[in-house]
Amino acid sequence: MSFEERLTWVNAVVSVVVTAVYCAVVFGRLGNMPVADVAYQWAMLISILALVVLTIIGAILMAVGTAVSAEITGNGSVDDIDRKDERDVQISHRGMRTGYVVSSVGGVLALGLAMLEYDYFWIANALFLSFVVAGLVTSAVKLMAYRRGF
């Protein structure tokens, strides 16, 4: 597995975990109070921060793990960590193209919610979840391209 593919796995896992926690915390409050009173702002900001920080930490751990593994097993090389070739770039572009479509659909959905005068809660969450889902779709498309070829 190339280092870029490992980073894609890190992105995917972090996105799934953070989104699951966010949804459990915020949507769990929905049944108890009116939507307008549900406090989602801090949870959303912390989730965005967690997405960034955990992805960076995951990438660092992955780099260290790759280097240690290469040193111990002799399989691979430390040079692999910063090696990104044309296949990685093409796969990345393919994933981002698909992710862009998903986030655009989410943006249009949020616009629709705003025009229909839905509560800020739904508009903000539609935008947040569309970004997260777009990231997940990007990772999924990249991983499929890495595994199945293209």
Binding site: M1, S2, F3, E4, E5, G76, S77, D80, R83, K84, D85, E86, R87, D88, Y146, R148, G149, F150
Partner: protein, 71 residues
């Protein structure tokens, strides 16, 4: 699994003929990851024309001795 490309290649044979050159060694000489060489060998990825020429150059053969297209 359906192969996403019709391009086939003789890289495995050429590596064997070149003193059993490893995939890692070929990857280093072409400047790509070992996983890309594996993907090309298995027909899961068609390299760019430039990379194809680089691979052929490593083996000292012409492009059509490395890559083949049916028909």
């Amino acid at each position: 699994m359906v192969k996403p490309t019709l391009v086939t290649n003789s890289i495995r044979t050429l590596r064997f003929a070149a003193g059993e050159m490893t995939q890692a060694e070929l990857a280093d000489r072409v400047g790509v990851t070992r996983q890309t060489i594996i993907a090309i060998e298995q027909g899961r990825y068609s390299p760019s024309l430039e990379m194809a020429f680089q691979i052929a150059k490593v083996f000292g053969v012409s492009l059509d001795e490395v890559f083949h297209y049916p028909g």
